[in-house]
Every structure is written in C-alpha cells, then in structure tokens.
C-alpha cells in the first residue's frame, strides 16, 4: 500500500494532499496545472515535497527533507507523457535498459510481457520508426521490465488517436490484473478516468476536492 501525505509550495498555490493506494488503479483527475504531475514526480522521487511523508509497503520514500530515498532506489515504474523512449536506442535496448536480472526466469517474464503487448516485432526498430500506440506499449514494457512495486502513468493515452486509445485502455486494465501492483494514472479526460479507475481523486489547485 502506498501512503502519501505531502505539502509543497508551488508558484500559484500550495499543494496539500493526503491519500492511500492499494493494489488498485487510482486516477488523479483534474484540469492542467492542478498538481497531478507534481504528485507523481514526488512519488517517483524526481521532485521533493516541502513537508510530509511518502511510504510504500513499509518502505519510506520520503520523511522530511533529510530522509529522502534516491530515485534509483525506489523501484517505481514511470510512464512519461510522450513516453520518453531513448531515441538513440532500439526498442529492445530501451526495454532491457532497466532490467535488474538477466536470468532465465526474468527473461521469460519480459518475453511474456512483450507478447501480451504485441511488440516483439518492434525490438530492432528505433522509437522514431514506430507509431504512437506502439511507443506507448514499448514504454509500458520498459517500465514493467524493471519489476516495479508501483506504476505511475502521466497522461498515458493523451497522444493517441481515439481508436488506439480505447485499445490501450483495455490493455492497461489487463496489465493491471496481471501485475497486481498500485497503478496511479493522471488524466484530464473524465471518460477515461471513469473507465480505468477503481477510484478517482478529483484535484483542483493542489487539493483533493472529491473522491469517487
């Protein structure tokens, strides 16, 4: 279980949120600039809150400024907006970049993952040679290949056309069933939030204003 209780002063308002996530899909929903991405970044360790604590299954990520776990040690998977695939590496190299173990068992897991996502035929290609939907799947595979204990997805589907988007939504739900770790998805599309989320937190100007 992930427990988040943080405060952070931003330029236009103060972010102050308090929530927990089980092995479910939690959606952070709100207009742009409401602090959704900031929350993801603090969980990933790419940004520091001013105060509060972040804990995942008993492991402390953040406990006041002095006790902050390095990004590398958090074992958090992140799917960035626009995917942030390394442009100078093939899809295969991208996916293997974060693999911690290269033994048979893990290789099998990754192979299976690529099969589920249907991207084995893309391994030798470079990111600029594949479509948006394929990039999204490749980035998902890369994030999950590290066997993360939580997956953060920042507007994962916003760059896709409608048809691809619906396919990818189903895929995300399927992957979550397989992986059984907390997924936190940021979106500003209400329809998407309702389809994907087990729970939705509504954010506005750095505060949770409603929960569904």
């Amino acid at each position: 279980m992930l427990e988040v209780s943080i405060e952070k002063r931003l330029s236009h308002y103060d972010l102050k949120v308090d929530f927990t996530v089980d092995d479910e899909i939690l959606v952070l929903f709100g207009p742009s600039g409401s602090g959704k991405t900031t929350i993801l970044n603090t969980i990933a360790g790419l940004m520091q809150p001013d105060e509060g604590s972040i804990k995942l299954g008993g492991k402390s990520f953040f406990q006041g400024k002095k006790e902050s776990l390095a990004v590398q040690a958090r074992n958090v998977g992140v799917l960035f907006q626009d995917y942030a695939l390394f442009p100078h590496m093939t899809i295969g190299q991208n996916i293997r970049y974060g693999m911690k173990r290269k033994d048979e068992e893990h290789t099998f897991v990754v192979d299976q993952l690529m099969q589920v996502l249907g991207i084995q035929h893309l391994l030798a290609k470079y990111p600029h040679q594949i479509s948006g939907g394929e990039k999204q799947r490749a980035a998902l595979a890369r994030a999950l290949a590290t066997e993360p204990s939580i997956l953060l997805l920042d507007e994962p589907l916003s760059a896709l056309d409608k048809q691809t988007r619906i396919e990818c939504q189903d895929e995300l739900i399927r992957l979550h069933d397989m992986w059984k770790i907390p997924f936190i998805i940021v979106t500003h599309d209400l329809e998407e939030a309702e389809k994907l989320g087990d729970r939705i937190l509504f954010l506005d100007r750095g505060n949770i204003i409603d929960e569904k």
């Binding site: 942030a84 470079y126 600029h128």
Partner: protein, 231 residues
C-alpha cells in the same frame, strides 16, 4: 622550396591534439556540472570561462606568463618540484591553446547539455540507472553532435593559436615553431614563398575540418527524427 622543414606542421598538430583532449575532458566536465543548475556565482564563473574569447591574445599570454613564468605561482612550483619549465617550450604552446580554446568547448558542451530533454535522463533514473550510467548511456550520446562541434572548433582554434603562444612559448625553430609562428617569422625574414606554403596548408586544414563538421552535423541532425526516415 626543396629544403622545407615540415616540423611546424607536426608540432601544430601535436599541440592542437593534446590541447583538444584536455579541453574536451574539462569542458565536458564543467558543462555537465553546471547544466540546469542555478547557484550563486554561476554567471561570474561562466564569464571567467568566456574571458579568453574576448581578451586580446597578448593579455592572455601576459596572464599565462605571470602564472607559468620562472617566478610565477605555478611556474615556480613546477620548477622546484618537478624541474619542469613551461616558458619557451612546446608545453607552453599547449597551455596557450588550452586557455584560448576552452571557451569554445565549454560553450558548445553547455548548449548541448542544456538542450537535452530532461525527461530522458529522469526516465533513466526511474529505471534504476546511476548518475554515472545516465551520463554515459543517455546524456553523452545525445549531446554528442554538440560536443563534437565543440571538439572540432577547439582543435581548429588550437591550430590557429598565435598571440598567447608567442608570449608564452616564443619562437624557437624546431621547438616552438607552430605553423602560425612559422608564417609570421617567414614574412619577417622576407621568405614569402615559405610563408605562402604554410598559409595554404593552414587554410586547407581549417577549411576541411569545418566542411567535414558541417557535413557531419547535418547528416546527424536527421538521425533520430521522423521526417527524414519516412521521406
């Protein structure tokens, strides 16, 4: 033109090559260290880095003499401890080259690192990569076109260095006579044929390096972008 001594060409290449290696390593190091960081005094330090670019070469040479001369801070120490003298040696030419070409390398490298997509480095970190690995596998390869431009410019600048070198290394035939020196002293001595030869050599060298760089970077700009692959 039968009795031409080619040692100035070799010496120039040696001096420029060694200085380029030093400048590349230090320039990349400082550019990476300062990239996307805001701290008190950064502007002052960066201005100091850029200074040799705007100062008259004689001023740079003068400063180097003060530092590396027999009684200079560093020069005295080098002489006492290692019995090494910098002034009037080819090492002096290397040091002069380093100082005048460092700003070019630093500027190219800083621009290259600043323009990297920050999210790619962050992605690598979330995948568990150490800062060292992030640098070698993501930042360095993606900044490479800019770094190479800095490297080539530094090399070309090192080849052409004259003013500061003259002050620090002097003109000693067979020891510190780089091509620019050879040209100056050939003209002084009225040996216009010899001067012309070296002018042709250095123009050819400079022109081919820059042409190659332009060709290479144009080709490389296209490498990771969609437009050109699909065309």
């Amino acid at each position: 033109m039968t009795d031409i001594d080619f040692s100035p060409l070799l010496l120039s290449l040696k001096v420029a090559a060694i200085s380029t290696v030093v400048v590349f390593i230090t320039g990349v190091f400082f550019a990476r260290l300062f990239a996307r960081k805001h701290f008190f005094g950064k502007t002052v330090i960066e201005s100091a880095f850029m200074l040799p670019l705007v100062l008259p070469p004689t001023v740079v040479g003068f400063a180097l003499l003060i530092l590396f001369g027999k009684h200079g801070w560093i020069g005295k120490w080098l002489l006492e401890w290692f019995d090494v003298q910098i002034v009037f040696t080819w090492i002096g030419a290397v040091i002069a080259s380093i100082v005048v070409s460092f700003p070019l390398m630093y500027q190219s490298a800083a621009a290259a690192f600043d323009s990297l997509d920050n999210r790619l480095e962050n992605a690598a970190r979330t995948l568990g990569a150490s800062e060292w690995r992030v640098f070698w596998t993501v930042a360095f390869p993606l900044a490479w076109p800019g770094l190479l431009a800095g490297l080539v410019l530094s090399f070309a600048r090192g080849l052409g260095e004259f003013g500061a070198t003259l002050m620090l290394a002097g003109y000693i035939p067979g020891k510190t006579d780089t091509i620019p020196m050879a040209i100056y002293f050939a003209v002084e001595a009225g040996q216009m044929e010899k001067a012309t030869l070296w002018v042709v050599v250095i123009v050819a060298l400079g022109f081919s390096t820059i042409t190659w760089l332009n060709w290479w970077s144009r080709r490389n700009m296209r490498r990771f972008t969609d437009q050109n692959r699909n065309r």
